[in-house]
């Protein structure tokens, strides 16, 4: 009971701080997800391209960002981007130096990692939609863009959704890492709370519960989406 009062909303407890941290965590995940989705398709497109340079780039991109620990990618992006930006600014204004918004660095790093993972999902979904579909579309006189957006893509979603749902869960968990580069997310606020209250076990358990709830809610949404994307496969037959 005493411990629960530490979660009070307002000046006496850490409820409002944790809620603010949760907001930042969710903002990070919801900003990263659409960007990563977009880049997943672009990278997968590069892998299937006839242009060898594009193909090597896309494959290298995937290998690198799938192999590096997310923490390392995050730190490299954060510091490297900062030094590049400052070097660029120093060319114009030698006395000015800025510090990069860590949130932007977090979004960029997570986007790189998750677009690399997502491009594999897109690639295998594309393979799962049989070639005959694209050929039939071509035979009907659709151009390549029409064939992709009207015929192939709608059928790809069904194969993508479970894997993307999985990636979303991993993304939610990986946001915990951004506390390392000074983003005031859930984990960082919990660490602050622990620094004053000396109750690490309680606050980390609270974090675990919050993440479990997020995962549970996500799985409900995912089930709903899956039902919709495979609607053409259900019902009377």
């Amino acid at each position: 009971m005493e411990l629960l009062s530490l979660l009070a909303y307002g000046d006496t407890g850490w409820g409002d701080e944790l809620l603010r941290g949760l907001g930042v965590t969710l903002a990070l995940a919801f900003t990263t997800a659409p960007l990563a989705l977009l880049f997943s398709f672009l990278i997968a497109w590069g892998k299937a391209s006839k242009n060898p340079v594009l193909r090597i780039f896309s494959n290298g991109y995937t290998t690198i960002f799938r192999s590096l620990p997310e923490l390392l990618t995050l730190i490299i992006i954060y510091y490297q981007l900062q030094s590049i930006i400052n070097a660029a600014i120093h060319l114009v204004l030698p006395s000015v130096s800025i510090s990069l918004n860590p949130f932007a660095a977090g979004v960029l790093a997570l986007t790189l990692v998750f677009s690399a993972l997502g491009s594999e999902v897109v690639r295998s979904a594309h393979q799962a939609v049989s070639k005959g579909q694209a050929e039939a579309a071509a035979a009907l006189g659709l151009n390549r863009r029409q064939s992709f957006f009207k015929i192939v893509l709608p059928q790809m979603w069904r194969h993508c959704v479970p894997a993307f749902g999985n990636l979303w869960l991993i993304l939610l968990k990986d946001t915990a890492l951004v506390s390392i580069i000074a983003i005031s997310d859930l984990v960082r606020y919990a660490n602050m709370a622990i620094a004053t209250t000396k109750e690490p076990f309680f606050f980390y358990s609270v974090l675990a519960v919050i993440f479990i709830v997020l995962a549970f809610l996500s799985s409900l949404v995912q089930a709903q989406i899956e039902r919709r994307t495979s609607a053409n496969l259900q019902g009377d037959r």
Partner: protein, 229 residues
């Protein structure tokens, strides 16, 4: 840039040793911990399977970082109780706490891999074993397990790479793995190239694991066996 590598070879080797041993020990102990969890998950006893499912759900639903913090800092809060139990020497060490977190974490993931693999074992093979008069345990050890492990080889390779990447998290609780050494050298030199050296380390290990796995998978007959009837 390379001076950070050549001047501190001993540090990098210590880092690599820590990273590799954390990963390997985590996967191996995790595998043995996963066996009873997978068995419980598949058991007909609904209480047992529900407990195992809850464990897997809790572990897979929370960030590994939080799990590491919970074990290292969270249990550290109870150090007098742990001393009483004679376990404090274990939990005092960040390496041990990191390893325990990896084992508990990997066990949940590997249990799911095993469960999927066991469910995919051809029924005929199990029936044939029973017909030959093998006991349940013998059937499991001599028939189900080899087939499952063979079939699940790609998933285990994946888990090994994931755990290798995850092992970098222990640098946050002061373990000097590859990532920890990079952070240490960066704090001294403020030279970003140490992180690129660390990146190269991880990249090389991952590529080695992938090459090894391609070899293992090429040899494995169960991977290409569609299952007779």
């Amino acid at each position: 840039m390379l001076s950070h590598l050549t001047d501190n070879v001993d540090l990098w080797i210590e880092g690599l040793t820590n990273t590799v041993s954390l990963t390997l020990l985590g996967v191996i102990f995790g595998f043995f911990a996963a066996l009873p969890i997978a068995a419980a998950r598949l058991s007909k006893n609904s209480i047992l399977s529900r407990i195992a499912y809850t464990y897997v759900y809790l572990v897979r639903g929370t960030p590994l970082l939080v799990q590491i913090f919970l074990i290292y800092y969270g249990l550290g809060q109870f150090h007098s109780e742990l001393k009483g139990l004679g376990l404090w020497w274990f939990f005092r060490d960040a390496f041990n706490c990191g390893l325990l977190a990896f084992v508990l974490n990997s066990a949940a993931y590997q249990a799911e891999i095993l469960r999927g693999g066991i469910l995919a074992v051809p029924k005929g093979a199990i029936e044939a074993g029973t017909a030959l008069g093998l006991t349940k345990l013998q059937v499991f050890r001599k028939i189900i397990l080899p087939i499952t492990i063979g079939r699940m080889l790609p998933a285990f390779g994946n888990e090994l790479v994931l755990l290798l990447k995850a092992s970098s998290l222990v640098s946050i609780i002061t373990v000097r793995d590859v990532m920890g050494q990079a952070r240490f050298l960066f704090a001294q030199s403020f030279d970003l190239s140490v992180y690129y050296i660390a990146a190269l380390n991880y990249l090389v290990i991952v590529l080695l694991i992938e090459a090894l796995w391609r070899k293992l998978e090429g040899r494995n007959q169960w991977l290409h066996y569609a299952g007779g009837r």
